[in-house]
């Protein structure tokens, strides 16, 4: 066994809480963040639900102790909040001599500001405030977060649609295992934008009532926003520094469905491969998994394909599973990291969170999600799935940390 990668900190901001404590309470109490649109400007207000972070950009700026709002997209602000929590928990400070990298992820970068820029610009190519468009690319928010945290080693951004931040956690771990970096702050961030909301609406996969994953009558996903980051360190360094280790990133797998740009294969080929690879790296068999935090978007296609893949891989003994997107909405580029944090909360607090709004079993599947909070359950290994458009499927195995 080579160098193990452990988790020494995490941070999260989402529609169900401004930090991990608040998120845990919402998860325990069954309080969903999905609801009527309150902050976001759109014609869909009152018609489509969202899982918004209930803070304005001004409030987020204040939370980050930042002054100018011009330079920051909402995606960046959410990212700073979560990354700061993670580094504070792990005791990561600028100026320490360890090689520290930042691997972030998002799906549309600073689109929330670009879409404000564009109407004026299209009327007249010399018009539109440039300060609104310079945040457009996906790397911008990552660099702002790096600057805020004082990180100057390897900094990069991944975008693989809805699996983006699962992949940033994987890549972060690889960098540590290879000895290129001592620790990596890895995760993702995405804010709601009109671009995304109308895009998904066009594909007719938004549930007007709020998503109900793995339900026979599911009608689509609900867009959410948020951010989460993990602090990954080599076990050796964490032990040397006497850090509190909150979990082990024991395995991960990335595979491609190679089927269709927006649809998953009916039998979930890529999903099955990703899960199998993750468990193989973790050195465990399906029977060792205590909980699956499924991707479970609530679309017809995903839940069927993912469900088929889970049934095939786990056979008769499928562990308890739930989609916590029924709380957070689908946070796209942030989803993998948000669900990794939720998986860690499950391990730390020995509980499994329910799949909200589920009533009717899917007729194609024999498996049923967990619908009530399961407490006092030994959760040693969690499989967390993140599957994206383009067949970009990734799975993580997060495990309870046991010293060797």
């Amino acid at each position: 066994m080579g160098n193990r990668v452990v988790i020494t900190g995490y941070g999260i901001i989402s529609s169900i809480g401004m930090n991990a404590d608040e998120v845990l309470h919402s998860l325990m109490d069954g309080i969903s963040g999905i609801g009527e649109i309150t902050k976001f400007e759109t014609i869909h207000k009152g018609k489509l639900p969202l899982a918004e972070v209930k803070r304005s950009n001004e409030e987020l700026l204040e939370l980050c102790c930042l002054k100018s709002k011009k330079k920051y997209s909402r995606t960046t602000l959410l990212g700073i909040v979560a990354a700061r929590q993670a580094t504070e928990m792990a005791g990561v400070k600028p100026g320490q001599s360890y090689r520290t990298g930042l691997v972030s992820a998002n799906t549309v970068g600073g689109m929330d500001r670009t879409e404000d820029f564009y109407p004026l610009f299209l009327e007249n190519l010399a018009k539109g405030k440039l300060s609104e468009v310079i945040n457009h690319d996906c790397g911008d928010s990552t660099e702002k977060i790096a600057e805020y945290l004082g990180i100057c080693d390897l900094t990069t951004t991944i975008s693989t649609a809805c699996s983006s931040s699962a992949n940033s956690i994987m890549f972060g771990s690889e960098l540590i295992k290879a000895g290129m970096l001592d620790r990596v702050i890895a995760g993702g961030t995405d804010a709601v934008t009109r671009f995304t909301l109308n895009g998904f609406n066009t594909l007719m996969i938004l549930d007007k009532e709020g998503c109900c994953p793995f339900d026979e009558n599911r009608a689509g996903l609900t867009i959410g926003e948020g951010s989460a980051f993990l602090v990954l360190e080599s076990e050796e360094l964490a032990l040397k520094e006497g850090k509190k280790i909150v979990g082990l990133l024991s395995g991960y797998g990335n595979a491609n469905d190679a089927y269709h740009q927006t649809a998953s294969s009916p039998e979930g080929i890529g999903a099955g491969l990703a899960m199998a690879k993750a468990m193989e790296m973790s050195g465990i068999v399906p029977g060792n998994i205590n909980y699956i935090n499924v991707h479970g978007t609530g679309t017809q296609n995903n839940d069927l394909s993912e469900g088929m893949a889970v049934q095939k891989l786990f056979g008769e003994y499928v562990p308890p599973f739930s989609s916590t997107k029924s709380y957070t909405g689908h946070t796209l580029g942030a989803a993998g990291a948000i669900e990794a944090v939720i998986s860690l909360l499950s391990i730390q607090h020995n509980c499994i969170f329910p799949n909200l709004r589920w009533t009717t079993p899917m007729k194609e599947l024999y498996i049923r999600p967990v619908t009530t909070l399961l407490k006092d359950i030994m959760v040693e290994h969690v499989l967390s799935n993140s599957f994206g458009f383009g067949g970009n499927n990734s799975s993580l195995v997060l495990s309870k940390y046991n010293p060797r």
Binding site: T42, I43, H44, T107, G109, E115, Y118, P119, F121, L122, L125, A126, L130, I134, H136, D137, C138, G139, T142, E143, A146, E147, I151, C152, D153, L154, T155, T156, T157, I158, S159, T160, A161, N167, F171, E174, L175, K177, A178, M180, R194, F195, N198, G199, T202, L203, N254, A255, N256, D257, A258, Y259, H260, Q261, G270, L273, F389, G390, G391, N392
Partner: protein
């Protein structure tokens, strides 16, 4: 360390299969250097390509050219770097949304997603393996190469398909021109280094590489190492990084025979390129190349294509004059690039 065993490149120069290494040089006089595209039906089913935007077609084609060039059946991983993804598709959606929120044309929305290129390549090759996309300015391709090297070194892949791709559009050009860093009018690309019009010259291109574990008769060169540096405090710090980087790879400054410089025509940008290399590698020959391909986020792909071919052919085309003189030998090439002095990248390529 790994080997470059295949290349597929679509660029503003003669780089398609069957062309002679950059001969003849292509002159461009329009607003930006546009890629010379292949006949797509040779690579993509015409029914499928009808709905694809230009970037997606360039991506799939260059990836397929690359895999054919390497003579392999199937890569073990597909990794793409792109600074901006499909600009054309993104603009279509933004244009539609500028008037009002409504049902959009779904195709541009789907294609605007940054991972579309990597996943379309996977669908085309029916490749179920590792698949990822990096989207970080001028670290986009470099991150792919780092990922590829890690996978080769860890033994999780034998052949990795890794590449960088970006496109330019007139609307996008009109935005970046207003930032003051780019040329505000069209010039002849071959006059880039003597032009009185200030600023960088924009370009585009796609370049994929098969990065392999083993040296074969297909090998162009050895991809020794890749490093990125974010926000260096000073030019001295950047130069120190260069020296440390090459020494970690067992080389002394005088062992670097040739540097592919990141100069793009912007005076301030070019001054930084010159200062860094002058400090770090005073005795190395150097050459500029962006008059051939223009500036874009994943331009290092064009540079890596040049370095790999120069090392394999042991020959430097006449369109790439070396200063102060031609190198005496061609063993070690360093590619340096930077994004407005914030993101610096270094790629070491060896014979």
């Amino acid at each position: 360390m790994a080997y470059i065993n295949g290349i597929g490149i679509i660029s503003p120069q003669n780089t398609l299969p069957g062309s002679d290494f950059l001969e003849p040089v292509v002159e461009h006089t329009s607003e930006f250097l546009k890629s010379i595209e292949p006949v797509y039906k040779s690579y993509i089913d015409p029914m499928a390509s009808r709905r694809m935007s230009r970037l997606i077609k360039m991506g799939i084609s260059s990836a397929k050219i690359c895999v054919q060039d390497a003579g392999i059946e199937m890569p073990d991983a597909i990794i793409t770097g792109t600074g901006l993804g499909s600009v054309e598709d993104t603009e279509k959606i933004l244009g539609e949304l500028s008037k009002e929120e409504k049902f959009l044309n779904p195709t541009p929305f789907i294609q605007s997603t940054y991972n579309t290129i990597s996943s379309q390549i996977a669908i085309n090759l029916k490749c179920h393996q590792y698949n990822s996309t990096y989207v970080h300015r001028c670290f986009s391709l470099e991150s792919c190469l780092i990922d590829a090297l890690l996978q080769i070194e860890e033994g999780t892949a034998v052949n990795v398909l890794a590449g960088g791709i970006d496109e330019m559009t007139l609307n996008h050009l009109s935005i970046i021109r207003r930032l003051g860093l780019w040329k505000r009018e069209a010039i002849r690309n071959l006059d880039l280094w003597s032009s009185k019009v200030p600023g960088a010259l924009a370009g585009e291109g796609a370049a994929y590489f098969i990065i392999s574990e083993e040296r074969t008769d297909k090998t162009y060169a050895c991809l020794a190492a890749v490093e990125t540096l974010y926000k260096p405090e000073s030019t001295d710090k950047t130069a120190e990084t260069v020296v440390r980087f090459i020494s970690e790879n067992g080389l002394k400054p005088e062992d670097v025979d040739l540097v592919l410089m990141g100069n793009n025509g912007n005076e301030e940008h070019d001054r930084i390129c010159n200062d860094v290399i002058e400090h770090a590698l005073p005795s190395a020959s150097h050459m500029v190349y962006k008059h051939l391909c223009g500036e874009y986020h994943t331009v290092s792909g064009f540079a890596l294509y040049l370095a790999a071919n120069i090392l394999r052919k042991q020959f430097i085309p006449s369109s790439l004059p070396c200063l102060p003189k031609s190198p005496g030998k061609l063993q070690n090439i360093l590619i340096h690039n930077h994004f407005w002095n914030t993101d610096h990248s270094f790629i070491l390529v060896r014979r």
